[in-house]
Amino acid sequence: MTPIIEARNITKRFPGVLANDDVSFTLNKGEILAFLGENGAGKSTLMNILYGLYSSDEGEVKVRGNSVDIQGPSDAIELGIGMVHQHFQLVPVFTVAENIVMGTEPTQFPFSWFAFGLSSGIVALLSFLGAMIGLNNVGQWLLAALAGGGIVAGSYLLFYLLGRISSQKAGVYIPVISAIGITGGVVSALSQGMPGQIPLYIILSILFAAASYPALRVLATALDRHTAARRIRELSEQYGLVVDPKALIEDIPVGIQQRVEILKTLYREADILILDEPTAVLTPQETEELFEIIQTLVDRGKSIIFITHKLKEIMSFADRVVVLRDGRVVGETTPEESSRGELAEMMVGREVSLVVDKEPAEAKEVVLEVEGISAEDDRQQTVLRDVSLSVRYGEVLGVAGVQGNGQTELVEVLTGLRTATAGRFHILDQEMTNASPRRITELGVAHVPEDRQRVGLVLPSPVFDNLLLNTYYKPPFAKRAMLQFDEIHAYAHRLVEEFDVRPPNEELLVESLSGGNQQKVIVAREFSRPIKLLIAAQPTRGLDVGSIEYIHRRLIEKRDEGTAVLLVSVELDEIMALSDRIAVMYEGEIVATVDADKVTRRELGLLMAGSSLDTLKEA
């Protein structure tokens, strides 16, 4: 049996990076093929090549045995390849239906006798009534009605006619219309006795025909929302993917958005589905549902490529696994022939211990005390509801939760970047509710922000500028508003050495550093001040394993020095490895706060999906 997809020797280079190096694989019909690899191993690049978003530098792809050249997504769609991207490709302000049909919309001709009669009738009536006020006799009134209605009806019919003609090929439409125009032009030019105008009329006629064709093609095809909704409902029933076609994307939860993405591919009749890290934004329970959906899809003859860096998922349902590292295929196996440890080793290239060595915490007095904080997001939706928590000296409080459950806003409120609409919080017994970021920083609070490039760094500035972002105004760096460059450079030089930022040059622009080194710059800045409380949001997102270990070690060091640490992360492993206590957030609320050593992964997963602690105990 020929494999449905066969990729050979795919190589893709980006400036300075070899993203895919001689990658080959096959996908058989009805199979779930998993791609395993760390962030940056080249999985997404490979898939984007298959989907035509990138073109490969070398190598060839065969689909159903035929060699193909995929130039863009439309080619891929044509070949029956559909992709659910890691970051959903959905327009937030469009409806579900609009998102699904975009690109292959069902259309209708915007003509109905009803609209035709109604609009011309109304205009005729209005003209009649208007004429009654001002004009003298019944004949004039009727004429006005006739004129009004006639104009509407006439233009409607003309449009209909032209639209119909334009539904022929351009090769028919343009010559016909040009010919009509030219004849009319020649006749009128001759009748006016200006034969010199004839070339002009000819040019204008051709111009009009050429320009009106695409215009009419656009005008004569209206979006058929009814058909779209009907087809989507059919598909939903067929595959058990329930969605409301009229809902706006921004109003529905991520789990449903993912269904919309899958429906998008099914609507295009794809039979090869690429799912790029589909579980990253889902709770463990939503993940289960997704797996059921995938199973249904496979049962109906679809083939699935599934990308992940989570071992557990692979073990539970993949048919075959391809492991990528640094852009190369380092192994191919099946879950039955392999173990989690083995796969992990293949993926990372050495033995990994996901455990961080740490002593039990010695909890002391409270540093951060949060009481009933609520806040809104940028769209004025309440996303943080009545959150209370406390962090003590020398402990790590982990905040777990699926992305987008209010963690971002919580951190922003605590660091003064967002106003709280209710509640208050104290740091070191001082009320800091809605205080300025500077006051909070000066109290000894460090903040490793979630979005390091957007919030934490000034990318086009040198490292030394970034190291001063929140201390630039203080002596010894500034004397009466004058920056002291000697001190600044010496300080920056020292930090760059101490925190092992590479390359070790404080004059370099931060944007030229790698992600891990950018994060080191932030850590260097935040950890080198005398701090009492450290708020770290997603401190290791998107970093390589080496950097993750480094950051984890530094965090625990800080804790052991007695700093209070509030760690927000969506990586359950990170939370479990570092925290002393864990607070779980769901839909803007803290559903439970538990001791880290008295809770299992499964329990945390259920909490993250919104179960309360009580139901957990009962179960």
Binding site: Y51, L53, Y54, G72, P73, S74, I77, M83, H85, Q89, L90, V91, P92, V93, F94, T95, E98, N99, M102, G103, T104, E105, T107, P110, L126, S127, G130, A131, I133, G134, L135, Q140, L143, A144, A147, G148, I151, L200, L204, V218, L219, T221, A222, L223, L248, E250, K264, Q380, Q381, T421
Partner: protein, 424 residues
């Protein structure tokens, strides 16, 4: 229509939002001012008479009592807003109040004389024409994700091209066509700079504006004036027989210059295209989430090129309005910043063609009333001076600032506007 349904403020039960406070205070102050105008700016027994050129006097109002009524109603609306009563009717009350106050102002300036209200509406529509065309141009660009502050430049070059080519071909209609084409050409330059070369779109727009101002003046002095082509004459009004005889709506809707008709047709057509066709859906997707559009096979940059150029074609017609409709000749810098006001109309209208048209009507009204005031010259109470008409000329600009500051209405621009799309 889906794109506009979002920007609804969720009212908070606990406190008065700052925006509400501003609006309430504005209503209180303006209501008070109208009371003062009624008490001291009018004579007792004076009436304001509104007329129509065919029907004669339409209706007349006792100015003082009308102004008292309107003033107290405005204060009432402001007060209601302040104590958060009738919150569900908030926007209806606000717009009703604004309408009343504008009408009150109209009554005050007419007090003791007559005002041709049909003529007023007509000149309002005429003044709104270039603004609407400019706003449509902006909508096409910005819905596709390209910021367009070059409407002014596109209109100016259109105005020039209209005169130049009307003179060369000795045909005003061809002038109009070429105005449109040259506007499209300028837009294409903007598109190439901002899409291909990824120049910051505001800088690229500024370039178009400077280039248009310089090039039109230069070419006018060097080519048009020496060859005597700079005054080809005006496009006459088109009168639809019979329908134009209908009182009130006839002269307003059916007897207009061609650009006004073009404008009215384009508002309907563009609104339909943007919101009800597949092309419009894809085009809006390019402005909201280009990557999503790309992954379903829409050619984002091609879409943007087409959209921006179409916008330029429309802006060019807006330019021809100035030279062929109003003046019949080219004058330096004759668009006088209307392109920027059009931009504001676009923002005010929430990036929707019909909304932009309504906003343009509002600006057009400010313009029309300013012209009327130069004739009627009402005297301010206490100060005993005329209001200099230049003050009223600033009204559209001040209105624009108020609009972009978000004091009235709230708009939501396309999300990915201003960012070049890079495929990767």
């Amino acid at each position: 229509m889906t794109a506009q349904a979002q920007s609804i403020d969720i009212p908070k039960a606990t406190e008065l939002s700052r925006k509400d406070l501003v609006i309430a205070v504005l209503f209180l102050i303006l209501g008070g001012l109208i009371l003062v105008l009624g008490g001291f700016g009018t004579q007792p027994g004076e009436r304001a008479i509104f007329t129509d050129q065919i029907l004669g006097d339409l209706f007349s109002l006792a100015s003082r009592s009308t102004l008292y009524t309107i003033g107290s109603m405005s204060i009432l609306i402001g007060g209601l807003r302040l104590i958060r009563a009738l919150d569900s009717l908030k926007s209806v009350l606000t717009w009703g109040g604004i309408f009343l106050m504008v009408f009150g102002f109209l009554v005050w300036i007419t007090s003791g004389t007559k005002l041709n209200i049909t003529g007023m509406v007509q000149s309002m529509l005429t003044a709104a024409t270039p603004l609407t065309l400019g706003a449509l141009a902006g909508i096409l660009c910005e819905r596709a994700g390209i910021i367009n502050i070059a409407i002014e430049g596109m209109m100016l070059s259109g105005a020039f091209a209209a005169v130049a080519f009307a003179g060369i071909f000795n045909n005003l209609w061809l002038g109009l066509l070429c105005a449109s084409l040259v506007g499209g050409l300028m837009a294409a330059v903007h598109a190439v700079l901002s899409i291909k070369y990824k120049v910051d779109q505001i800088i690229s727009g500024t370039v178009i504006n400077i280039l248009a101002a310089g090039a039109t003046r230069f070419l006018n002095l060097r080519l048009l004036e020496p060859s005597g082509l700079s005054a080809p004459g005006q496009l006459g009004a088109i009168r639809i027989p019979l329908l134009a005889d209908i009182p009130i709506i006839g002269p307003i809707l059916f007897e207009n210059s061609p650009t006004v008709f073009i404008m009215l047709i384009l508002v309907v057509v563009i609104n339909y295209v943007v919101f009800f066709t597949p092309w419009g859906l894809r085009m809006r997707a390019c402005g909201e989430h280009p990557r999503a559009a790309d992954t379903v096979g829409v050619h984002v940059n091609l879409m943007r090129y087409v959209s921006v150029t179409l916008g330029g074609l429309i802006a060019g017609i807006g330019g021809a309005y100035f030279s062929l409709d109003v003046v019949g000749a080219f004058e330096d810098n004759m668009t006088r910043g209307q392109g920027f006001v059009a931009l504001a109309a676009m923002i005010f209208g929430n990036w929707s063609p019909v909304g932009g048209f309504l906003a343009a009507l509002l600006f057009g009204f400010a313009d029309a009333i300013q012209v009327k005031m130069q004739i009627l010259r009402p005297i301010l109470p206490f100060l005993n001076v005329y209001i200099p008409h230049e003050f009223l000329q600033t009204a559209p600009y001040i209105l624009t600032i108020i609009v972009v500051a978000g004091v009235v209405g709230r708009s939501r621009p396309p999300a990915e506007e201003g960012k070049p799309y890079e495929k990767q």
